[in-house]
Symmetry: C2
């Protein structure tokens, strides 16, 4: 269980991604009706547009977007690395050009905290020094060390009592760097720890190995968050290794591409085999899509590029992820997670007709 | 009051456009919650994709799209004219190439009725011979006559008892042709009459003149429908001249372009003056947008191209139209429609700040 001033979130939990102050295509009521109590938003994007001071002047992000649940904001480290142009890391912070208009900005640990506090997020993340994959060990070491030094500055600059502040373990795919990063971060007075820099193109076994080295070093009295991961099977692997919190664009982004998660593996709704198929997308699902509509109708909406199709598919995929997390929590309680994971994976490999 | 087997629709009424079996961006519940009990769909589009036989095999359009209210389908005459390639009118019907794949189709009055019956529409329209504007009088006369002959064939080919069949008055902007068309159509045993071929680029006064000539010739015991019209002020003008039923893409299409109808005239939500505006789009509106969100948030969604913005704007504009029709019905009951129309127009010309 994870507790914020907005309520309790049973863990392990998955957070839908609402980068710009909206979970793409959905209303806050729809996100809540699926069962979610916490979403992810992003400091980099909201800092650039509409501006954190605008959001603050309108009562903070919860009020702005009418979301009464909890919000975790990412610090912007990853987005500056992946989106901004000409980013340059110094000890002070990251100098970058906005991907929107090319204007220069200096994002420091202190500014990242100030932005996230202005947004009134319930959980805020320390700014991390994010590098590409693969990288040289010296660069990875340097970035991981800097991430810890920046975490200390984030802690010192934090003004509000309410939000929890999480640190981010870096160290690329080097086990000893990950150990060092985890140990130095956990010596700080942080409210939780995230594992960053995974699921960036490395082989699956490497990710699992890094998790196995890192997670045991993170205190189990506070939440352990695996950032940006992932596929249902990755989430199972993460929970098996002690992760409590996940986020990923996969269910929402894939939905908009017509790819639906089902208990028997993914299906693509554009497929002509669904042309006059009266069955629900997933007969085992009770979401607003599966309770009401045929595969034929959803396919029709996708072929006609009708926005309502994107909504229904998004509701379905987020419902699938929510049900998965509920099943995982139940399996953990009943001490049969390993068995559940095996069953889940074998079902996912059945053929959909 | 207009009655179908699905229920009663207080008139004058506006129908949201759901051409392809969905009111763009909205769920059927949202359309119903605004207050609408009848929508418009289209025989041409649904015949081409997904195919009327597919919709029929899945239980008809109401079941397909989960809309429990009434549905009026347009016959396809206007869409063949405006969208199809190489359309050629003969006495038998219209030969055209699909705008989707170039395949040739022959749409006859009989096929149009069969398509609309397969869709299980509650009100179906006769196939009309639609021409451009301006046209020569001889061509307009020919097309109006053919439209009446086709209406007779539609009536004869109708197999189901349930749906009401409406004819369409044509005759371009020639008063005498309109009179002739209205008189010959109303001699048939039709359940209602529509005025087609208006709001196609003609001056406003010309449209009003044609309405004034045509509507008095249509029986007032059955509904009189002005197709594809229009702006709020056009609807007022139509009601003042005896029209009961309207449809138009304007509220939904303009919404997706960020243009919101308000009691003080239209506003464009992209305007930078709304950057940090905490007020609702229209303080006099109680829709899901205006009850919950600031102009600043809606502007943010539009700038970020977030689909949820299109939804909220669509809900607002359809709510505005629904409220307008409710106000019109009240004014008609209280015998003060002309006063209401004057007040409405003068408010619409006030400046929004």
């Amino acid at each position: 269980m994870l507790t914020t001033s907005r309520g309790e979130i049973p863990t392990p939990a998955f957070m839908p991604v609402g980068t710009r102050g909206v979970v793409k295509t959905l209303s806050p009521e729809e996100v809540r009706d699926i069962g979610y109590r916490m979403i992810l938003a992003n400091a980099y994007h909201l800092y650039l547009r509409p501006g954190h001071t605008v959001v603050e002047s309108l009562g903070g992000l919860h009020e702005f977007m009418q979301w009464s649940g909890s919000i975790l904001t990412d610090s912007g480290g990853f987005q500056i690395y992946s989106l901004a142009r000409m980013s340059k890391v110094t000890e002070e912070g990251v100098l970058f050009q906005s991907h929107l208009d090319g204007l220069k900005h200096l994002f420091t640990p202190e500014l990242s905290v100030a932005v996230q506090e202005a947004l009134s997020a319930d959980i805020i993340m320390c700014l991390d020094d994010v590098r590409g994959y693969p990288i040289e060990k010296a660069e990875a070491s340097d970035a991981a060390d800097r991430t810890t030094r920046w975490a200390r500055r984030c802690l010192e600059s934090k003004k509000r009592v309410d939000p929890a502040l999480f640190g981010i373990v870096q160290g690329s795919m080097f086990s000893d760097l990950r150990e060092m990063s985890a140990q130095s971060l956990t010596s700080l007075d942080l409210d939780g720890c995230a594992v960053g820099g995974l699921s960036v193109g490395e082989p699956r076994e490497v990710m699992l190995e890094i998790l196995e080295v890192t997670v045991p070093l993170l205190p189990d009295r506070s939440p352990r968050y695996l950032m940006g991961v992932g596929k249902p099977v990755d989430i199972l692997d993460g929970v098996l290794r002690g992760i409590d919190l996940f986020d990923c664009v996969l269910p929402t982004r894939n939905a908009r591409n017509g790819m639906l998660f089902t208990s028997k593996g993914p299906i693509n709704m554009r497929n002509s085999c669904y042309r006059d198929d009266p069955r629900p997308a997933d007969p085992h699902c009770a979401c607003a899509l599966c309770a009401n509509y045929s595969r034929a109708y959803l396919r029709h909406l996708f072929l006609e590029k009708e926005i309502y199709g994107l909504r229904l598919a998004t509701i379905h995929n987020l419902s699938f992820y929510f049900q998965l997390m509920q099943d995982i929590r139940e399996a953990v309680e009943q001490n049969r997670l390993r068995y559940f994971a095996q069953e889940f994976v074998s079902h996912m490999e059945e053929h959909n007709d």
